[in-house]
């Protein structure tokens, strides 16, 4: 499970903007593995301390197996929350703006920074200034370019091409993708694993080219 959590943390980290310009070495001396360790320690501590007395403890996530039977999924949500929290921290945002991030399941956290993730309304501003509008347009252009690269990267795999096309047509759940293609749900999930690895390649290439562009300015 630890490798899976590490891969997941890196995948989320790559989607966030870091002052360090490195998805592994994060601000505040954190790294992807220190974030995974932190999440595990928080959840494991909560699990054995059974801290119902005296209200919620800081740095302890209380996992309720009844409510969230899938521990790995729960840990992934904790990792995502920690990374979002770090991305919106002053340490990271002092010199850069963090783009909006959408929640995967909308699960609010029980303790600590409830609602204080990058996907929440509190980060929204009443009106965007011209620089922000420009940055939004730039982010959309980069994502469109990334999708083109993903399509090119996946061109030799017919299954992946089919899945990307289905998603481009607005099919986003496994059952929707499954009915839009002739793949079953298990094959759709298998395709998602391959696509995620290809997406990582695309992100690495894009960050290299962005670095070169910035350096040549």
């Amino acid at each position: 499970m630890i490798k899976e959590l590490g891969r997941y943390a890196l995948s989320i980290s790559r989607r966030l903007r870091w002052r360090t310009e490195n998805p592994y070495e994060l601000p505040g001396g954190e790294t992807v593995d220190s974030i995974v360790s932190k999440a595990l320690k928080m959840v494991l501590s909560g699990a054995f301390e059974g801290c119902d007395i005296g209200g919620p403890k800081r740095d302890v996530r209380r996992w309720d197996p009844q409510k969230s039977p899938d521990l790995k999924k729960y840990l992934m949500n904790v990792i995502k929350s920690l990374l979002n929290h770090l991305a919106t921290s002053e340490e990271n945002t002092k010199f850069s703006r963090v783009p909006d991030e959408h929640s995967e399941d909308g699960t609010p956290w029980e303790t600590g920074f409830r609602g204080h993730t990058a996907d929440k309304e509190w980060l929204g501003r009443p009106a965007r200034n011209p620089e922000e509008i420009f940055l939004d347009k730039e982010a959309i252009a980069i994502n469109d370019r990334a999708l083109e690269m993903l399509v090119a990267e996946s061109s030799s795999d017919l299954v992946l091409t089919k899945v990307i096309l289905a998603m481009s047509r607005g099919r986003c759940t496994p059952s929707e993708v499954s009915s839009d293609t002739d793949l079953n749900v298990i094959e759709v999930y298998s395709a998602m694993k391959r696509l995620d690895r290809k997406a990582a390649i695309v992100r690495r290439e894009l960050s290299k080219s962005t670095f070169v562009t910035n350096a040549s300015k």
């Binding site: 197996p65 009844q66 994502n143 986003c172």
Partner: protein, 185 residues
């Protein structure tokens, strides 16, 4: 769908799939991370906490609370290589509902078993017999898995299962109707 949303969905859905050790090693190595170094660093960090917990990071469940393996969950996960959340999504139920059914299979109406078998076969291509058998030991022996959770007799009803399932009212109603249809048959 916007490009950003496509990448977001890929990331979320790939996290719901079960990755093999080889796939994980490959993915991490591609990112320039040595999987063994990553595991060793994290294990060293969490070692002190691990000594005081019953969590089995291999299976992902707290042993003392879940009581070891549950045949239904094992069949569903081993047949699909998907996480419990992904399996539940594919069966259009909550993961809490699946866990409750796995723990208290004795309490569920036959119509629920049939519905589960049909959904598993339709959405996940799992043979109906596998699901039926996974639910049988607990029925005939008073619960192999249940015995590990509690020594007291299992008194939960199917309504109790629904109450603890975390499902929306509409879904709960569907399963209630299914149960009452069977009673009137």
């Amino acid at each position: 769908m916007r490009s950003a949303n496509i990448f977001h969905s890929i990331s979320a859905l790939s996290a719901d799939a079960e990755w093999t050790n080889e796939e994980l090693d490959g993915a991490l190595l591609e990112e320039g991370i040595d999987p063994n170094v990553l595991v060793n660093r994290i294990m060293a960090e969490i070692e002190p906490v691990l000594q005081h917990t019953t969590v089995d990071l291999g299976s992902g469940f707290i042993a003392s609370q879940v009581g070891g393996s549950l045949p239904l969950i094992d069949v569903l996960r081993n047949s699909t290589r998907l996480s419990l959340s992904a399996v539940a999504k594919a069966l259009n139920v909550s993961s809490g509902f699946l866990m409750e059914i796995a723990r208290h299979s004795k309490a569920i109406p036959e119509s629920w078993r049939d519905e589960l078998m049909a959904r598993a076969s339709r959405s996940l291509h799992i043979e109906a017999d596998l699901i039926r058998q996974a639910l049988l030991p607990a029925m005939s022996e008073g619960g192999v898995a249940l015995g590990q959770i509690s020594r007291s007799p299992d008194t939960i009803t199917y309504r109790g299962i629904l109450d603890r399932s975390g499902m929306a009212t509409k879904e709960k109603q569907f399963w209630l109707n299914l149960a009452s249809q069977q009673r009137s048959d």
